[in-house]
């Protein structure tokens, strides 16, 4: 969907789309060319994008893609829809705590280790935020707020471990 959105700006070559995707959304995980062209082919097949004529010149990337009305409608709907608010209740954190308690293992030690790991990652993201531009800062903030939410959960779970142990062992 991100590629279709980037295409909504102006007709573009696959190379340009990949470059902009990597710049704004990739963050250390660049999109493989194969995936870019597979996605563009799928968009074309589904009538959301069309290719212009192949341009003369060297290199493999001479096709320029253009978004269709259908593609534009889809982007508009997608941009206006909220992402499902997942409660994350079945994440590894939760499973580890409950299993530790069930098995009589030290859940508090696990929570301490997890807190340390979270704080370390938050420090790295804060450094990125202080070094980088506004795009970096916003992406780092997204990670920081999510980790912060986990940490609050870790703290409140640590405070309730005895009661939780009673329930899961009952």
């Amino acid at each position: 969907m991100a590629l279709l959105g980037l295409l909504d700006r102006e007709p573009s070559h696959g190379y340009d789309l990949k470059r902009d995707y990597d710049t704004f959304f990739g963050r250390g995980r660049p999109l493989p060319y194969g995936q870019v062209y597979a996605t563009l082919a799928r968009l074309a097949r589904d009538g959301k994008a069309v290719t212009g004529e192949t341009e003369p010149g060297a290199g493999p990337d001479r096709k320029r893609y253009r978004i269709t009305e259908r593609g534009r409608d889809e982007i508009e709907v997608w941009l206006s829809e909220p992402v499902p608010a997942e409660p994350h209740l079945q994440t590894d954190l939760f499973v580890k705590v409950v299993l530790s308690l069930m098995l009589g293992r030290p859940a508090e030690a696990y929570l301490d280790a997890q807190r340390t790991a979270h704080l370390r990652r938050m420090r790295e993201l804060t450094e990125l935020k202080q070094r980088g531009d506004l795009v970096d800062a916003l992406l780092a903030d997204h990670g920081l707020f999510h980790l912060d939410a986990d940490l609050r959960w870790i703290d409140i779970t640590a405070a309730r471990l005895a009661a939780l142990a009673g329930e899961v062992r009952a």
Partner: protein, 238 residues
């Protein structure tokens, strides 16, 4: 008893502040129950912990504001309790800086007079003190607000003034107790960014008490206070 000390990766200087076996009770209520801590010169340390864990009490003991019932605090290798109250007062004025949750600025004074206060109390002439104070305003994004009364400023602006007041005398140690506690997220971030940058620039050691992980993430290291005891967590990455 193990001392929770700075990791070897922290730059420079050796230990500047050290607490050993601090015990302090308020009436029947124990606040510190044998707290140990060691802070490296130039380090930015976050002291975390739930409400009532003793983290602010620890800060005030380290700063010589509270005197523990038992245990020792050493600043620069010398025990605080070996110094007279007058010496401790001079230490707090000349070598320590403070930032509190609600700024605690003097509302009758202008912003620049508030910032200049530690310099004036230290005996610097008024014109020089105000000139040094004014240097901070551009750095903190407060140009043009030098003559404003702090009561006319937003919470975020006032806290930046408080930050400048804490750092203007280039203290060895800045003690910050929930410095972003009264601010929204964005203003809190601005204050933490400015605080840590300015302190690192001038080599000031910082001890920040906070219950917020996003604030602690600006530090080189954090310790957690639980039930009046200190435990170590992550190591420095800077």
């Amino acid at each position: 008893m193990t001392i929770v000390s700075a990791p070897s990766g922290v730059e420079a200087g050796g230990v500047i502040l050290e607490a050993q076996g601090l015990v302090l009770s308020f009436g029947e209520t124990p606040a510190l129950r044998g707290a140990n801590l060691s802070v490296e010169r130039g380090e930015v340390l976050a002291v975390m912990g739930p409400s009532g864990s003793g983290k602010s009490t620890l800060l005030y003991c380290l700063a010589g504001i509270l005197t523990p019932d038992a245990g020792v605090v050493r600043f620069d290798g010398r025990r605080l309790d070996d110094r007279s109250e007058k010496e401790r007062s001079k230490l707090r004025r000349d070598r320590f800086g403070f930032v509190f949750q609600f700024g605690q600025l003097v509302p009758e004074l202008t912003a620049e007079e508030n910032v200049a206060l530690p310099l004036l109390l230290g005996g610097l002439q008024r014109a020089q003190a105000l000139a040094s104070a004014r240097d901070w305003f551009e750095r903190l994004g407060l140009e043009g607000m030098e003559r404003h009364r702090t009561g006319e400023m937003s919470g975020g602006q006032a806290q930046r003034v408080a930050l400048a007041r804490g750092l203007v005398a280039q203290p060895d140690v800045l003690f910050a107790d929930e410095p972003t506690g009264s601010l929204d997220s964005l203003n809190g971030e601005v204050v933490m960014d400015l605080l840590t940058r300015a302190a690192r620039d001038q080599g000031t050691t910082v001890i920040i008490v906070t219950h917020e992980a996003r604030v602690a993430a600006y530090a080189d290291r954090e310790v957690i206070v639980r039930d009046g005891l200190v435990s170590s967590t992550a190591s420095a990455t800077r």
